[in-house]
Amino acid sequence: MQNSIYDQLFGQGLISENTLKRVKQAHSTTLFSLHWELKVILYFGIMLLSAGLGILIYKNIDSISHQLVLTVIAAICIGCFTWCNKHKKPFSYDKVQTHDSFTDYILLLGTLSFLTFVGYLQYQFEVFGTHYGMATFIPMMVLFFIAYYFDHLGILTMAIANLGIWMGISVTPKHLLSNGTFNNETVIYTYLILGLILMAAAYLTMYFHIKKHFFFSYYHYSVHLIYISLLAGYFYYNYGVSLIWLAAFALAAWYIYMDAMKRKSFYFLLLTVIYSYIAISGFCIRTLMFIEDSGVLYIGFIYFIASGILFINILMNLNKKLKGL
């Protein structure tokens, strides 16, 4: 099937004989890559191991000696980090290409056991006493250090999530999407501040050329956090005050939009369009609610149809524009 395509292309003079030969040879000796299969097995292995260890400790927390548990966890942890240190490439401020994803996952196991270790210490011995802030701050700093030192994106996102936890909020992707807890001012402001911090981190990453490939992870969280917290703020306050939030939203959206165009990112473009649609629709509906007439239902429906069509056109045009850049 494939080769007949190339025969046809060759017949039309679109490819040279060399290319034809090269392609045919490549197809006849097709290698079968087990890359993703092995990676997924590895991922599940690490997940099972770490979960099993967690349950083991949880169940036996009163029966086995604490020193023993701590020693075992520490041993696993040290073993993993020693392995990674031995197999890592020299540190660099650029991306360090690790072709060896096994080491990446061993690093993950080591990090998870470290977190278990710290958690256990706090749970059993209260080493941080009642300074709960410290109990999250130290693991977070360690996570950031590991992420930078070993160049591990997954651990960076864990560190970012822990930064959120330290500030008292949760920022895993699922949590953000399914959240219904934006109902008090503190939470909204915390999310907004975290978003701004991450935005700053993203830019500093680029500006100082430190691990530029970490940019996405910072920026991704920051964009979602900023949009969601501004929207939450908008819907939280009454009509008059909320206009300030709407203005802030417009400012942020404009900025992120310009940035998406600059980076040619379809993803951030889509986010901007969708979040803006929610903001504008929210504004229109809240404004329409002032009309106390049954006809308002019609206007509302017509608004959604018209705005939907409008936004489809906007999205299609922006797509064209971005592709043309």
């Binding site: 890359h35 099972l48 191991l49 770490s50 099993g52 949880y58 096994f102 256990y120 992707p173």
Partner: protein, 387 residues
């Protein structure tokens, strides 16, 4: 039958095929440009991000259009007529045809949304008109007709999957009509049907007639392999049998056969997948090993949960470690290297998102906002979730 311009569709497939080789550096840039110039199409098919946006917006438009229309007509009483839903379904379908034929949308999000909306509305209309919501046989037969038509006309793979699921349901419910004989031979008829389906699909995979349906056939292979396994899985056989007979049984007749099927089939999949270098078989086999393990654990308690986790985890890590080492240099036509490196989804850094979703939260010692100490939610990534 196919709504799309066949030449364009063929060109699109050709370009996609050649692109894979181009990404691997087999084709020089100037020749690639020449090929693209010669095989053009006018389809509007934006990338996945834009597609997702268009999909959502189209659902909004369609839903509110239907609502507005219903509101306008509410006074006239037409709406109460059971044909009203059918009318909305037809309206959505016409919109779909127009978008595809006039605007040349192809997997743009707009056509995807309209396809699923009209398919669902047709089914809903069938239920309201015939009151057949208790007659599962008729319902699944109708769903099969709709999805078969839509998947053939719009070459949509997911719709083809719905088609397969509904025809499987038709087989199931019509066999059930046979009474006791039917329920006791149910696993075998489903096995037979799935096996034959898989065999027919594999036979026709290089048939020129299925050229435009390559994606659908891939998905159908997965579906038929899955139903072939599920038909003989001990858990499925026992629990489903109990449900159909309204009984609570301790074991099933021919239990040894179903256990053999549950445990053996994944390995047969993996083995033949490696032998034929068939990704679908291989991956299905790997996933089903997990299912087989869960089935076993459901009935027999060999050891504690944590010990199972630790042993299986260690085995998985060790296995992948040795294979990664072993396959660093390609052997017997297998390699650990990634062959194709260009993914659009790379922009999302999916791997890191998966890691953060599954591990990130679990490391937290009790925080200030949390409940009092002893919440027990420390350490052990993922330990708390779902077990």
């Amino acid at each position: 039958m196919i709504v799309y311009n066949r030449t364009w569709l063929a060109n699109l497939i050709l370009i996609d095929t050649v692109k894979k080789d181009y990404d691997q550096g087999l084709i020089p840039d100037d020749e690639w440009a020449a090929i693209r110039l010669n095989y053009t199409h006018q389809f509007y098919s934006p990338n996945i991000f834009i597609r997702a946006g268009l999909f959502l917006l189209t659902i909004v438009i369609s839903a509110f259009s239907s609502a507005l229309l219903t509101l306008f007509m509410a006074d006239s009483g037409i709406v109460e007529n059971s044909g009203w839903i059918l009318f909305l379904a037809i309206a959505n379908y016409i919109a779909l045809e127009v978008i595809v034929q006039q605007k040349f949308h192809f997997r743009s999000g707009v056509d995807d949304a309209l396809l699923w909306i009209s398919g669902s509305l047709f089914t809903f209309a069938f239920v309201t008109i015939t009151n057949a919501d208790q007659n599962y046989l008729a319902l699944s037969a109708f769903i099969f007709l709709v999805s078969a038509f839509l998947s053939l006309r719009f070459t949509d793979a997911l719709m083809a999957l719905v088609g397969y699921a509904s025809i499987l349901a038709v087989v199931f419910y019509s066999w059930q009509e046979l009474g006791t004989l039917g329920t006791s031979t149910m696993p075998f008829i489903i096995m037979l049907f799935s096996g034959v389906s898989y065999w027919i699909i594999r036979l026709n995979i290089n048939n020129p007639k299925t050229h435009f349906y390559a994606n659908s056939l891939d998905l159908l292979q997965i579906a038929s392999l899955l139903s072939l396994y599920a038909a003989g899985n001990y858990f499925a056989v026992k629990e489903l049998g109990d449900m159909l007979n309204g009984s609570v049984s301790k074991s099933v007749p021919l239990g040894w056969f179903f256990w053999l099927w549950t445990m053996g089939l994944p390995f047969i999949y993996i083995f033949s997948g490696l032998k034929q270098k068939n990704v679908i078989l291989l991956r299905m086999g790997l996933i089903l090993i997990g299912v087989a393990a869960l089935t076993y654990k459901h009935y027999y308690k060999l050891m504690s949960l944590e010990l199972t986790f630790i042993i299986c985890g260690t085995l998985a890590v060790a296995l992948s470690y040795f294979l990664i080492r072993y396959l660093k240099q390609p052997k017997h036509g297998f390699t650990y290297k990634e062959l194709s490196k260009v993914y659009l989804m790379d922009e999302l850094k999916v791997e890191s998102l998966v890691i953060s979703e599954s591990f990130a939260e679990t490391g937290a010692p009790p925080a200030e906002t949390g409940t009092a100490l002893g919440g027990g939610r420390f350490g052990g990534g993922g330990a708390a979730s779902g077990y």
